[in-house]
Amino acid sequence: MNLPAARLDRIARLHVLAAGLPGVAVHETTFDAPFAQVWGWLSDLERSVPAFDSDVASLVVLRRAPGHDGGERLLIRSRSGPTWLWLPAVFDVDLAPGWCWMASRPQTYVVGMAAEPDGDRTRFGHLEGLAFSVSRPWAVPLVPVLALSAWRHRRHIPRDVAAMARHVERAGG
């Protein structure tokens, strides 16, 4: 028998991870849809990501393997839209119920999505941005770049999340 234990929910975990990634931003909201409906739509990354992220033209799952928490480890390839010259990118993905953590190869970009049931609604958090830290002296010039990345993503993520809301809240109708 244990002492009462505190818990870090998945959205809190996103905020914790953001503390180590100065180039990312986190946006939190509540969807007016139950968790199963939200995650049922979001976790189908091939369909959901191009639908809510205007920077992504397409996404393909290249490989699937068992992950932790009953989830999967995926390897995906996304292709950006015209703004980014249709550039491809490969990501490793840790996908589990209520949790999606993606980092590009090589590790320059990171995306996190977390959801927690809240009655008939769903609390949701989205993290995104450049995946660099400034732990090495040569990385110090990156500080303004990372600040710019965080600033851009503070503006960009709410737009994506609003698009998600339209989809997930419609998915049950």
């Binding site: 002492l3 234990a5 505190a6 503390a19 180590g20």
Partner: protein, 197 residues
């Protein structure tokens, strides 16, 4: 009512053995150790290492924050984990991770309690957080007993069972080692008394 949960009397300077009825079992060194490589990679900002570090430390720090800050424990744990991740680069020796993180967790828990974020105990909410049916009543009783102790007494109990030495506890709590001894002794006595009443 359960019997004295602490079992025998241990010396002040040594960790006491944990028996089957010890309600403080669980704050200990039973968590998976984080490898030095994961710590080094997390210090460089590796996204996967950061996630692994958070997952590995959460149960250990969660028990410390839960025991000291009670219902403010979740907030204290989040603040502690943010401080750990934000300052991970300052950790010189990966092997010192748990002790270093433990000090941060205690500091944030005491801060949460002193800021008044520890709201009165709600047995219903506590019960809802306990998964094992057989342990439910006992877990709520432990929580109720802890709620009756001063935050500093909860802190020394949690720290002792997390393996902290007297000097570390003294440094953390800003008191003399002798004060830690007497505070620990009083905390144990208070726990026993309230547990048996």
């Amino acid at each position: 009512m359960p019997s004295d949960p602490r079992g025998g009397e241990g010396g002040e300077g040594s960790r006491e053995p944990s028996g089957p009825g010890d309600p403080l079992v669980g704050i200990g060194n039973d968590e998976e150790q984080v490898s030095p490589d994961v710590v080094r990679r997390a210090q460089r900002g590796d996204a996967w290492a950061l996630d692994a570090l958070v997952r590995s430390l959460e149960p250990y720090l969660g028990r410390i924050c839960g025991a000291i800050a009670l219902q403010a424990g979740d907030d204290a744990l989040q603040e502690a984990m943010i401080a750990v991740i934000r300052n991970i680069r300052s950790l010189r020796e990966p092997a010192a991770l748990r002790g270093w993180a433990r000090r941060i967790a205690v500091r944030e828990s005491l801060r949460a309690v002193r800021a008044g974020r520890a709201v009165p105990l709600d047995p219903g909410a506590a019960l809802a957080q306990v998964p094992a049916l057989d342990d439910q009543a006992t877990a709520v009783e432990v929580r109720a007993v802890l709620d009756g102790l001063a935050p500093e007494q909860r802190a020394v109990l949690a720290l002792r069972h997390a393996g902290a030495g007297e000097q570390e506890m003294a440094d953390l709590l800003g008191v003399a080692p002798g004060t830690v001894k007497s505070r620990l002794s009083r905390a144990r006595a208070a726990f026993r008394e309230q547990w048996s009443s």
